[in-house]
Amino acid sequence: MNPYLLIVLLTSLGLGTALTLSSTHWLLAWLGLEVGTLAILPLMAQRHHPRATEAATKYFIVQATAAATLLFAAFNNAWLQGHSDIQHMSHPLFTSMITLALLLKLGLAPMHTWMPQVIQGVSLNTGLIVSTWQKIAPFILLLQIKQIHPPLLTIIGLASILIGGWGGLNQTQLRKILAYSSIAHLGWILLILQHSTALATYALLIYIFMTSATFITLKKCKATTINMLTTTWTKAPTITLVAPLMLLSLGGLPPLSGFAPKWFILQELTQLNFIPHASIAAMAALLSLSYYLRLSYSITLSLSPNNLPECLQWRVNYPISTPLSSALPAALALTLFLLPLTPSALTLII
């Protein structure tokens, strides 16, 4: 893509999120969200093959619906309450509507069906942006809304974790797997949103690091299906070594950093006496873990019968070191080794 165009689009993307983050009025928040949506659409439809176009279209429809509902509910609330402050919403109906709109934007169950299709349709880099950057703005808005009806968040959160687990089990396309994994992680965040904003933020941060590391690794291996993952050991042996750890961190296993958010969320839920929620969430995490294990098994733990020439892969485009790929070590380090630093990390957020 033309570098000027790229700069404009990426700047608008950042601008959109920044606008949302710094707003107190619903109109500005909606504005930021729309800017972000519009900015990413050309990025998604970069390659003009039908799949990318379809993904861009679907994304636009989803985000537009959500933004429209958001605006409608915000203005109704302003009419009833007299002000448009994000942090002082009190009308329960419109609070729920806004929450639902934001959850549609995030791609949580039961409105999740667009996520796998969109992320599958776009390239890995854009998928990374959709999965990570685009989640920040709606999340911040969700944080600021008080008095959300608690069962709403709990049911949707648990449903997301379960659907994220079950959906990913039947997939071979890696981007769809990562889409379901993001649904599951956002479900975890949603569970704790009402009770501890610090933990929710921390969970989102760790999720962003882990997902970035995964997407960059996949980009490096040029792998989009599980079968293509199996030849990683010829292309980048170091990645073959580290990839299982990264995937298991996504799955939430100690002593990797992905364990910390799950651990604290479960602890918080238990302390608040939400035992069934904690149990279901913990059990459903096993479902996601099974497909992460499947991936790590294909990368590292199995070797298909091959002959000597296969050990040297034909590399047509030698991967040029892009800015994104230089972020891989940082992302990996944060994915794997952050667990001992959790107390200090939490104090940063609180």
Binding site: L93, L100, N170
Partner: protein, 611 residues
């Protein structure tokens, strides 16, 4: 005599040391001397026998009995277990007899097993068996008795399976161990009961404290133990199968010493049982049933060793009947006299089998009377003693038992069975004698018939002297503790003799039928006897099959398949599989899916909000 007890103690300890020393010397230096066995073990047993005669004479002369307690072995709180040796009439009399019989058998075995490369090990096994038997007999507490009990059981297993490459021998050894184990359950139960209720395993304390308690439970355990070890009906099939072992094993273990261990246990613990009419009746009926059943089985056996095995079993039943009559002294007397003639019968049978090149079927023997006169004479003496011919060894015990049986007010059915068994004893003994060495030879012409070897004739002669004199010596030496009935009508007095002669003549008459042609008699009449009463056929198949099937049902089907597979992991797998398929099938790439879901959820929230 002032220091009587010291002499008794010391001589008995010396006997034990002489017996145990070859075991230790064999551990200490491995000698490749091929005749080590003869020099060490047989000599040791001989010396031990002569040494043990000293306690015997002292006891007979003065009536001394003593108990040696030397080692406080262990204690569990207030429960002490010592090693103590009780030298009373029973053990002082039994040990020399056992040593005498073992000496004869070892001398015989040194000829018989001469070509076996592991002969030293064989003799060592026999010696260890003997030590275990002596431990059992001289035990003053139940723990030591149990050690001896288990010891003889294990040695029996090792010795029956001596020729372990033969599948039948292994099966027989296993059978012996299993049946003995079932009896051991009774013994262990009795041990436990005594430990908890009588607070001691020392016999003296047990006899005193048991006077006031209801002793039904432990004596049933003891009777079960005796049933297992002494092959009473119900746990009897191992004894005929144990004939797979070498003949010295059969002669020593399964005729004289090991199988009488069960009866000996009951004799030793008689004070516990003598006030318990239930136990006495059980012994009586069990013994009568055993003796008749095994005698019927012995009538149609064609293997000479099996005939003698069944005869042993039937004599054991007779001993059990005696215990049921509350006459332990007579039972013990029969144990001692039976040892002599039964061992001799086994040794004679082995000489005959060897002479005919390992032919064990009596239908293929005959006419041996002129060819191996010593052996056949000893066979005759032994059989006559078995039948209870007046003034041979068997007479003093057997006739006394039958007299006591006739004069008691106990079960008439047991009496009838025992008398019938006595006459049938005469019948099968005559059958054996008739087929083995009367009439004309039925074996092939070139048979290595030779009995001119000292190692054969000397033991046989010694045992024959024992058979003739032992009963007399024992009855003259010691007064019976219970006064026998001395006055009875002549027909009662002569019952045993008349019955025996009746059985003998009928059997002789039937045997002479073989010289004449007679109408064909269908074989069904014999099936019960030849199939050993169908007992092994039913029991050896039915119970193992039932238990194995039950265990398979429980372990494999209930636990494994149901709990661990179907209700657990497999259900979860199928459930999750269907849910995963459903979830991924929602993705059809249609916009209306998420839009409609969003709309529906919105409506639900709105509606819920207003309620």
């Amino acid at each position: 005599m002032p220091s009587l007890h010291i002499i008794l103690t010391t001589s008995f300890i010396i006997t034990l040391v002489i017996l145990i020393s070859p075991v230790f010397t064999s551990i200490l230096y491995k000698s490749l001397n091929p005749i080590w066995h003869t020099h060490h073990i047989k000599t040791a047993v001989k010396m031990a026998f002569f040494t043990s005669l000293l306690p015997l004479f002292l006891h007979v002369h003065t009536g001394t009995e003593l108990t040696i307690t030397n080692l406080h072995w262990m204690n569990i709180m207030t429960f002490d277990i010592n090693t103590s040796i009780k030298l009373d009439h029973l053990s002082i009399t039994f040990v020399p007899i056992a040593l005498y019989v073992t000496w004869a058998i070892l001398e015989f075995a040194s000829w018989y097993m001469k070509s076996d490369p592991n002969i030293n090990q064989f003799f060592k096994f026999l010696l260890i068996f003997l030590i275990a038997m002596v431990t059992l007999v001289t035990a003053n507490n139940m723990f030591q008795l149990f050690i001896g009990w288990e010891g003889v059981g294990i040695m029996s297993f090792l010795l029956i399976g001596w020729w372990w490459a033969r599948a039948d021998a292994n099966t027989a050894a296993l059978q012996a161990v299993l049946y003995n184990r079932v009896g051991d359950v009774g013994l262990i139960f009795a041990l436990g009961w005594m430990a908890t209720n009588l607070n001691s395993w020392e016999m003296q304390q047990m006899f005193i404290t048991a006077k006031s308690l209801d002793m039904n439970a432990p004596v049933i355990g003891l009777i079960l133990a005796a049933t297992g070890k002494s092959a009473q009906f119900g746990l009897h099939p191992w004894l005929p199968s144990a004939m797979e072992g070498p003949t010295p094993v059969s002669a020593l273990l399964h005729s004289s010493t090991m199988v009488v261990a069960g009866i000996f246990l009951l004799v030793r613990l008689m004070p516990l049982m003598q006030d318990n009419p239930f136990a006495l009746t059980t012994c009586l009926i069990l013994g009568a049933l055993t003796t008749l059943f095994t005698t019927i089985c012995a009538l149609t056996q064609n293997d000479i060793k099996k005939i003698i095995a069944f005869s042993t079993s039937s004599q054991l039943g007779l001993m059990m009947v005696t215990i049921g009559l509350n006459q332990p002294y007579l039972a013990f007397l029969h144990i001692c006299t039976h040892a002599f003639f039964k061992a001799m019968l086994f040794l004679c049978s082995r000489v005959i089998i060897h002479a005919l090149k390992n032919e064990q079927d009596i239908r293929k023997m005959g006419g041996l009377h002129y060819l191996i006169p010593t052996t056949t004479s000893c066979l005759t003496i032994g059989s006559l003693a078995l039948m209870g011919t007046p003034f041979l060894a068997g007479f003093f015990s057997k006739d006394a038992i039958i007299e006591a049986l006739n004069n008691s007010y106990l079960n008439a059915w047991a009496l009838a069975l025992t008398l019938l068994a006595t006459s049938l004893t005469a019948a099968y003994s005559l059958r054996m004698i008739f087929f083995v060495y009367m009439n004309f030879p039925r074996f092939p012409a070139l048979s290595p018939i030779n009995e001119n070897i000292k190692s054969i004739t000397n033991p046989l002669k010694r045992l024959a002297w024992g058979t003739i004199l032992a009963g007399l010596l024992m009855t003259c030496a010691v007064l019976p503790p219970k006064p026998p009935m001395l006055s009875m009508p002549p027909y009662i007095k002569l019952t045993a003799l008349v019955i025996t002669i009746l059985g003998l003549t009928i059997a002789l008459e039937l045997a002479l039928f073989t010289n004449k042609q007679r109408p064909y008699m269908p074989k069904q009449y014999f099936y019960f006897s030849t199939m050993l009463g169908y007992y092994p056929t039913i029991m050896h198949r039915f119970f193992p099959y039932t238990f194995l099937k039950l265990s398979q049902t429980i372990a494999s089907m209930t636990i494994d398949q149901t709990s661990l597979e179907k209700t657990g992991p497999k259900t979860i797998t199928s459930l999750n599989l269907s849910l995963a398929t459903t979830t991924s099938n929602i993705q059809k790439g249609m916009n209306k899916t998420f839009l409609s879901l969003f709309f529906t959820t919105l409506m639900i929230i709105i509606l819920l909000n207003y309620y």
